[in-house]
């Protein structure tokens, strides 16, 4: 019983890390159908934002709180620029977008390598997040709890923005039917730019949070990207709800596999589960019902 609870909690915490990394993707990939391979590098940019902020400010607690909004801005601006310069021109060529943004990611990685060195850097964890908390007989590090809380806040914020603000309504309209939205007077260009800004900004926030549980190197983002994509694929296009459930499910699966075998077999296991799952639901957990053929 204890072991089950432990695995579930580890799963939840792995899941919330996945979710933070995947949330922005489920906006840009899920809602706009744009595959942004540079998303991982936006996460990496968030990590380095946290690092630089801490170098400037010094106090770990204050710098973490300041780095979160700055990370959002840094990631968001990078996404905004990328959308305006490249992605906008490739909306009808999703596979090409994938490769082009991979090129962007390569360049960003090298920029990070040239400015911060290839060696991993560490951000010190603030005093109030050190140590662990006992929950039902399992000790969970406070940093992981913080990430869980952050994931919950981020999901809630995105859901609220999408549901109740005018900007969110416009985003949903464009996702639902681009042509009709445009006919109704919505500037789809502006909406696309805004969606990309928010999605990439979330990557920046994820990056800042991930410095709490690991060191930062130029390839940090890459290691999260594939898992994040799998979350979006399994969750289904255009559904935050799907991303949340898929992230938690994949996190738990990984935790269960890892305790019963090795970490390397766990990755393979998760992959097999996803392929089998797509047999049952090729479009993911939740789908937008459309009559289009694509």
């Amino acid at each position: 019983m204890d072991m089950l609870v432990g695995q579930l909690l580890t799963g939840l915490s792995t899941g919330s890390i996945l979710l933070l990394a995947a949330l922005g993707l489920s906006l840009t990939y899920g809602q706009m159908g744009v595959i942004n391979m540079a998303h991982g590098e936006f996460i990496m940019a968030g990590c380095y934002t946290a690092y630089v902020t801490q170098q400037v400010i010094g106090d770990a607690g204050v710098s973490l709180l300041i780095a979160l909004p700055i990370g959002f801005l840094v990631g968001g601006l990078m996404g905004f620029i990328l959308e305006a310069l490249l992605i906008r021109r490739l909306y009808h060529r999703p596979l090409d977008t994938l490769l082009v943004t991979f090129g962007v990611g390569l360049i960003l990685q090298q920029v990070a390598r040239d400015s911060f060195g290839a060696q991993a850097v560490n951000v010190s964890v603030p005093e109030f997040l050190r140590g662990g908390v006992d929950i039902l007989g399992t000790t969970l590090p406070k940093t992981r709890l913080f990430i869980m809380a952050l994931a919950i806040v981020a999901v809630t914020a995105v859901t609220l923005v999408l549901r109740f603000t005018p900007a969110g309504r416009r985003i949903r309209a464009v996702v639902g039917n681009r042509d009709l939205a445009e006919t109704a007077g919505i500037s789809t260009r502006k909406v696309d730019a805004a969606t990309f800004f928010i999605g990439s900004g979330l990557a920046g926030i994820a990056g800042v949070a991930l410095t709490l549980i690991g060191s930062t190197s130029p390839t940090t983002g890459q290691s999260y990207l594939v898992d994040a994509f799998l979350v979006v694929v399994a969750g289904g296009m255009g559904r935050i709800k799907g991303a949340v459930i898929a992230a938690v499910a994949l996190g738990t699966l990984q935790a269960v596999f890892e305790t019963n075998s090795t970490a390397s077999l766990a990755k393979v296991g998760v992959f097999i589960v996803i392929v089998v799952f797509l047999q049952l639901r090729p479009q993911g957990l939740f789908t937008l019902r459309t009559r289009s053929l694509a």
Binding site: L86, L90, L95, F102, G103, V233, K267, V268, L278, Q279
Partner: protein, 363 residues
């Protein structure tokens, strides 16, 4: 259509093209390149074989497979297992444990290694195993109409999972992979004559693979494949099962990658998870994109060019080469999706437009 391209479309033109390529590969290159460089060129040719497969699956079939490293790795590891078994047998008699296992503290031979003592079994495995895996995965994915970006992401995840799996296997060399081979089917690998022989084998395989690709392109199946790429629904409405068509192209691409991997091992002398993971898999794509994904020779030329640039530039200017790679991805795919192969046609259209303007101006 220009006179040159018309010539190469004719039966005589194709034969003379192959003859020219054979003369260049078998006659001229060995004269031009010294032993070490010829080995390097053989390595590039291995990448070109992978590229032909990607050109078929991606360029003609529209399936962006970001996981060819998996099949490349399968072929390579299967071959490496056989070479290691043969080496060990030569030193310590049948059933001996390969040297890297002794270093890792593995005393007895793992059961799944034993059949690879047989060269026939190994070659059959190299040809059948990856192809069968690709057919199974392809059926699972394409029958359920998982396609486009979903497929690309899945194939990439597969490459990542495969590399991680291999790193965890101490009986396959783990992170360091398998290296230091002495014999290739009974011939010493270090002998320059045998190395040249290896180069000839690789070159011959590349020619055969290009011929196979050409044959597929010109067949009814090739037409169907392009039709599926351009409008899968329409092909389905006409009564074809588009999934089967895609599975075949995907499996052929996997087979070619596996053969290339199997040749790569004796040529280069090492295979490790680092050369088959996510990044190497996507790098295979770069050459194909630059050369022209849908053309016959574009992938070959692109792969050779990228591999050459990689070896000459990456050591001297590692940082600049990475920037160049990134820029190439952006520029080629965004601005020149047809690759180098499309430049003649584009130039012609450009000239046409200028002429049209000139005509208008005079009118």
């Amino acid at each position: 259509m220009s006179a040159v391209s018309k010539f190469f479309q004719s039966k005589f033109g194709i034969w003379s093209g192959f003859a020219g390529a054979a003369v260049a590969l078998f006659g001229i290159m060995p004269l031009l390149l010294s032993g070490f460089r010829l080995g390097l060129f053989a390595q590039f040719l291995c990448y070109a074989i992978v590229a032909v497969g990607i050109g078929l699956a991606w360029g003609r079939g529209g399936m962006l497979t970001l996981g060819q490293g998996v099949y490349f790795g399968m072929g390579a590891y299967l071959m490496a297992m056989h070479l290691k078994m043969a080496d060990a047998e030569f030193r310590n008699g049948p059933g001996a444990v390969p040297d890297f296992m002794e270093l890792a503290g593995i005393r007895s031979l793992p059961a799944y290694w034993a059949p690879f003592a047989s060269p026939v079994f190994t070659i059959a495995a190299i040809l059948i195993l990856p192809t069968a895996f690709a057919v199974l995965l392809g059926l699972a994915v394409f029958k359920r109409r998982v396609k486009g970006a979903y497929f690309a992401i899945l194939s990439q995840a597969l490459a990542g999972a495969f590399a991680i799996l291999l790193i965890g296997q101490q009986s396959l060399g783990g992170f360091n992979g398998i290296s230091r081979f002495q014999y290739f089917f009974g011939y010493t690998i270090n002998d320059p004559v045998n190395q040249q022989m290896l180069y000839f084998i690789v070159a011959a395989v590349l020619l055969a693979v290009v011929a196979l690709s050409l044959q597929l392109r010109r067949s009814r199946y090739g037409e169907l494949l392009v039709a599926v790429r351009d409008s899968e629904e329409r092909v389905r409405f006409l009564g074809y099962d588009s999934a089967n068509i895609k599975v075949v192209a995907y499996a052929v691409a996997a087979l070619l990658a596996s053969i290339a991997g199997a040749l790569f091992v004796p040529v280069v002398g090492i295979i490790s998870p680092a050369s088959i993971g996510i990044v190497p898999s996507i790098m295979f794509i770069l050459g194909v994109a630059i050369g022209g994904r849908a053309s016959l020779l574009g992938p070959v030329i692109g792969a050779l060019a990228v591999a050459w640039a990689q070896t000459t530039l990456s050591e001297q200017f590692p940082s600049a080469w990475t920037y160049a790679q990134g820029l190439l991805f952006i520029v080629v795919i965004a601005l020149l999706p047809g690759g180098i192969a499309s430049i003649p046609a584009l130039a012609k259209r450009f000239r046409f437009k200028n002429n049209a303007e000139a005509v208008e101006a005079t009118a």
